[in-house]
Symmetry: D3
Subunit: 132 residues, 6 copies
């Protein structure tokens, strides 16, 4: 199995709902350093998993939709408790939608899976992996 990973980041404000979150129930924020990993059992004609420039471009587009915002006010996330785990899924699902829509080319449709990891600090991170 082959994989390619590209890294980018986003900076957001949000609050978390639930007593378990303690002080994180208050409006605060985070930089998420985001790694998107694309997996594929065999390489394409260019010997790549995906055109890395297009992969980086699509990841950046997904993160731009979220970055420099207060996620508590984002209509598309209404009702979502925006934990790091949940945001990893949001990013992965949006990337998957773009892949299916052809944004990374026809070859990208042969990818098997993607994993998105959001690093919230030097001591904590979360991932979501899904099939394509």
């Amino acid at each position: 199995m082959f994989s390619v990973t590209v890294r980018d980041h986003m900076m957001i404000a949000h609050s978390l709902r639930g007593e378990a979150f303690g002080r994180a129930q208050r409006l605060h924020g985070a930089t998420y350093v985001v790694d998107a990993t694309f997996r594929r059992p065999a390489l394409d004609a260019n010997n790549t998993v995906v055109d890395i420039g297009r992969a980086a471009g699509e990841l950046h587009a997904v993160l731009t939709e979220l970055s420099y915002r207060n996620l508590d006010d984002d209509a598309e996330l209404a009702g979502v408790n925006t934990t790091t785990e949940a945001l990893a899924q949001v990013v992965a699902d949006r990337l998957a939608g773009r892949i299916r829509a052809g944004a990374m080319g026809d070859g990208a449709l042969e990818m098997a899976a993607i994993t998105v990891t959001l690093h919230e600090s030097h001591i904590a991170w979360a991932s979501y992996e899904r099939a394509l």
Copy 2:
């Protein structure tokens, strides 16, 4: 599949038994930067894999039992050749025991697996993964 990882560290002395270890047969020591990854197929009611504060707290408790010690003198490790691989298993098994005992809450019982990685330097690390 979702995962959350928390990072902490421990500082120990030990010696390794077996000619293959060369100079590491002498009493020496290591800082292990420790990553504990918790995996779960679906998120809980809080949209988390585990209460990250409790996960970090349990990892810290397990590492405190081992840290600032000469592991050659630790009765619970008598007879164990304390390689990085073996210590990764010790940490993972102790975390699993705490999870089963309810230390991370009832939801944590739905976790599928944990992986513990011990970084012994900037050029070497070892992991142990187990089901829960």
Copy 3:
């Protein structure tokens, strides 16, 4: 010259004032991974720059005052454009105040300077250095 550095982090929401900030004028947030470096020309009787436990404790106390907050609503920062550079100074000045008040012990009064670095992402960070 000797130095010791301890690392911690804070997670905050804020907005920046001024056209130059573009989208960062909107309410967003950041994780700042914070390095505090303490400098001293000669070591103390324990062969240390500072008791590292106390240094880490004071840094954590300063970051707790700021973390999990919307800095736009922090009365002590009223009128401050809370750029990464400016927050590095806030953290350094508060640490300096604690040192002068004796929070790190009498020996700490012999420190020459402190530097505080705030990492806002994997591609940008800012520092402030001051004498003590």
Copy 4:
């Protein structure tokens, strides 16, 4: 499942073939920081996945064959589009060959799989995983 990872690096020149590569079609170069991960379901008599010294030595030998070269002129890579993904496979396959030839000892024959990751920058890396 246990794993051990060792890190080394190589510095090469090459060019990539295919319009998708844009400016990377020109002769340029890369430092690849290389992580080789060895997996095994149970530890050997020494409580290790592999003698880490021998693993590091074999990885270094494989990288020395490639490093400080223009890969466009390497007869063994003739016809190979030397993307990061493809080079990860080259390194993994050569390591697997050495393991099968006994270079890491008899115990190493019980390893289940290896993964090789090539970091080409702080924002992109690629991996290849294969059974042994």
Copy 5:
């Protein structure tokens, strides 16, 4: 003293002249992860050392001139032994030229110094610091 650092990278081919370089006398290549640090004794009206977007843009422009090239064929580097140290100076001097030409705004003319660090691998890097 305040500083801001931005990180980017370039990928180049080159060879080094001189017996001391051993195998690096052959055509090979490197990824340089490049950190550019801008220093200033006091902040500007926006509470910044420099508009970070412009700083990142100018660094990227300087690196684009060098990246995806064989530096042995770069007319502007004719006669230069392109060690990591020497390339750090090239990048710093070109950044300084752009600052003096006003590319980062009038405020940037008040910067005191810049430092450019080129990381050539996980175990070696070089820096050049100069006044402005």
Copy 6:
């Protein structure tokens, strides 16, 4: 001013003397990831601060004298409280001695200063800087 840094590591056991060290008064250990930085106002005839291979070799030789030992039993460190700060000085002074003895070549005698940083974990490190 130019600088070159090389990274290596050592793994040692030791105990610290003094109530301030708490549990670290017990025999324990550490991995120190060690960065040695060499500074020089102008480059030599090869456009380098120092022959990086020789610099890495001398650093490795200094660390080999200390690594895989219990520093409490090292006769040359008798009476030294081996804090991270103190060990940074030991490494720097030994490197300086080797430079003065010509181990890095005549050109190395023109270096202005060296800094040695010992990283003891992901959250703490110490440095010692001295003139040559």
